[in-house]
């Protein structure tokens, strides 16, 4: 009788056994679905919100004043020979990447001018994937069990999210209350009563949206889009919107989205990320 090989050799040989696979059937199914699978130029998290030119000019002027104030504040104590002691260096958060994320602390400046100074810092557990303006569970954000977070600025809503081509037809004012009122005036989805919140000390309002069951095949571009430049929702999608006044020309919005079928552990991770958010402006 032959001697039993080393267990590691057995495992490796088993793992490396050749196999005959025939993917022709899968290939046919994939090619059959190409026509009904539009390519995504931008993902639900990938759109950057552009603000109006007037807003840009106002913000540039405000930013110039802010820069002068910061420079002055940093120089004056040195001239006087006093000031707070240098802080002890701590590990710097990494910039969010469009990729799988290692567990750790990340920063993201998701907006174009004039809100490009707004930076979010948050802690991410293992198993998440980054996008340009947010992150989601690496297993996906889609129904029936995905989850994700996006950072947004909202200027205009669509009254008919199923036909959301071109500009949004509902202008939104520049305050937190304006945005909350605009959402409450819509009937394409369900909204909850707003509640006062604070995120990293910044005041805000939370309002939740529950998306209706909708056959996206009946919608323009297979999309159900709530606001201009915003993500596509899916039926049963639950969006928690934290609308935060950071003292800029518009509030920023942290969108945490999941589904009834999202595993509790994924939901807890999503909330832990949101609860860890720090905002620099």
């Amino acid at each position: 009788m032959s001697r039993r090989p080393d267990p590691d050799q057995l495992v490796l040989a088993w793992l490396r056994e050749p196999a005959r696979v025939e993917g022709g059937r899968v290939l046919v199914r994939v090619l059959e679905q190409l026509d009904s699978t539009p390519q995504r130029g931008v993902s639900w998290t990938a759109r950057r919100t552009l603000l109006s030119r007037r807003g840009v000019r106002i913000a540039i002027a405000a930013a110039a004043v802010l820069v002068l104030a910061i420079v002055g504040a940093s120089i004056l104590p040195r001239i006087g020979g006093f000031g707070p002691p240098e802080p002890t260096p701590t590990p710097s958060p990494r910039p969010l990447i469009v990729d799988f994320l290692a567990a750790g602390s990340y920063t993201l400046s998701p907006f174009g001018p004039p809100l490009d100074d707004v930076t979010f810092t948050f802690d991410v557990p293992e198993g998440w994937e980054g996008y340009e303006v947010g992150l989601f569970q690496a297993t996906g954000w889609e129904r029936p069990d995905g989850s994700g977070i996006a950072f947004q600025v909202i200027e205009r809503l669509y009254s008919d999210p199923c036909h959301a081509e071109g500009r949004g037809d509902v202008d939104v004012g520049p305050t937190v209350d304006d945005l909350v009122s605009a959402f409450q005036a819509q009937d394409a989805y369900t909204t909850t009563a707003p509640t006062d919140i604070a995120v990293d000390g910044y005041p805000g309002t939370q309002i939740n949206l529950l998306m209706p069951e909708v056959d996206l095949r009946t919608c323009d571009g297979l999309n159900f889009i709530i606001w201009e430049g915003g993500p596509t929702a899916q039926g049963g999608n639950r969006w928690q919107l934290r609308i935060i006044d950071v003292g800029a020309i518009r509030p920023v919005v942290v969108v945490a989205q999941d589904y009834e079928g999202t595993p509790a552990v994924d939901r807890e991770e999503m909330h832990s990320i949101v609860n860890s958010i720090q905002i620099d402006t």
Binding site: S2, R4, P5, P7, D8, L10, V11, L12, A13, W14, L15, R16, E17, P18, A19, R20, V21, E22, G23, G24, R25, V26, L27, R29, V30, L31, Q33, L34, T37, P38, Q39, R40, G41, V42, S43, A46, V98, D99, F100, L101, A102, E126, E129, A138, T139, G140, D145, P263
Partner: protein
């Protein structure tokens, strides 16, 4: 993958994508079947991965990174199928035996094969994935880390843990067999 083909598919050329998909499908099906240990689930994962590649291709910034990126989509599809597997199909069908290599007679042992199969199924999808990518797809640990977006140290520890679990599965069987022989 031919970068020109990738760029053409990024611009919506379905013929170019069909060529890419025909190159990828057997390899994807092979890898996903090894991770998921179920042909139907593997076919679904492969189909989802290929459609995700088509859908998200315009977002791939660097066509030279296609291989790592496409594997990442495949692994993500396997995770999704693995999750569905846990939830909906606790009693998996046994995968048909793969063709044994003549030089590996011991693997032909039904007991060993069953123990290896059972041990592998007890691993998480995370651990199965690193074993398959590293030991079957022959990816160096650094490349596995790149594909999965995790530190190399994490890949190493997962491989180590997974191999230890597989060894334990075999050794438990060996102990049982020797105890029965002693009776």
């Amino acid at each position: 993958m031919d970068a020109d083909l990738v760029v053409r598919a990024q611009r919506g050329d379905k013929g170019a994508f069909a060529l890419m998909a025909s190159e990828l499908v057997d390899r994807f099906l092979d890898v996903s079947r090894r991770i998921l240990r179920d042909l139907d689930l593997a076919e679904d994962a492969t189909q989802q991965a290929l459609l995700a590649i088509w859908r998200d291709l315009p977002q791939l910034r660097d066509p030279e990174r296609f291989d790592a990126w496409s594997y990442r989509l495949l692994v993500r599809a396997c995770y999704a199928e693995g999750r569905a597997q846990r939830r909906w199909t606790p009693n998996l069908r046994i995968m048909p035996a793969l063709e044994p290599k003549a030089a590996e007679d011991w693997i032909g042992s039904v007991i060993d094969r069953d123990q290896l199969e059972a041990g592998f199924r007890r691993l998480s999808v995370d651990h199965r994935t690193v074993l398959v990518l590293h030991h079957y797809a022959d990816m160096p640990l650094e490349r596995v880390a790149q594909v999965l977006g995790i530190p190399v140290g994490t890949v190493y520890s997962r491989v180590h843990h997974a191999m230890r679990a597989m060894r334990a599965a075999l050794e438990a069987d060996a102990r049982t067999a020797s105890q029965e022989a002693a009776r």
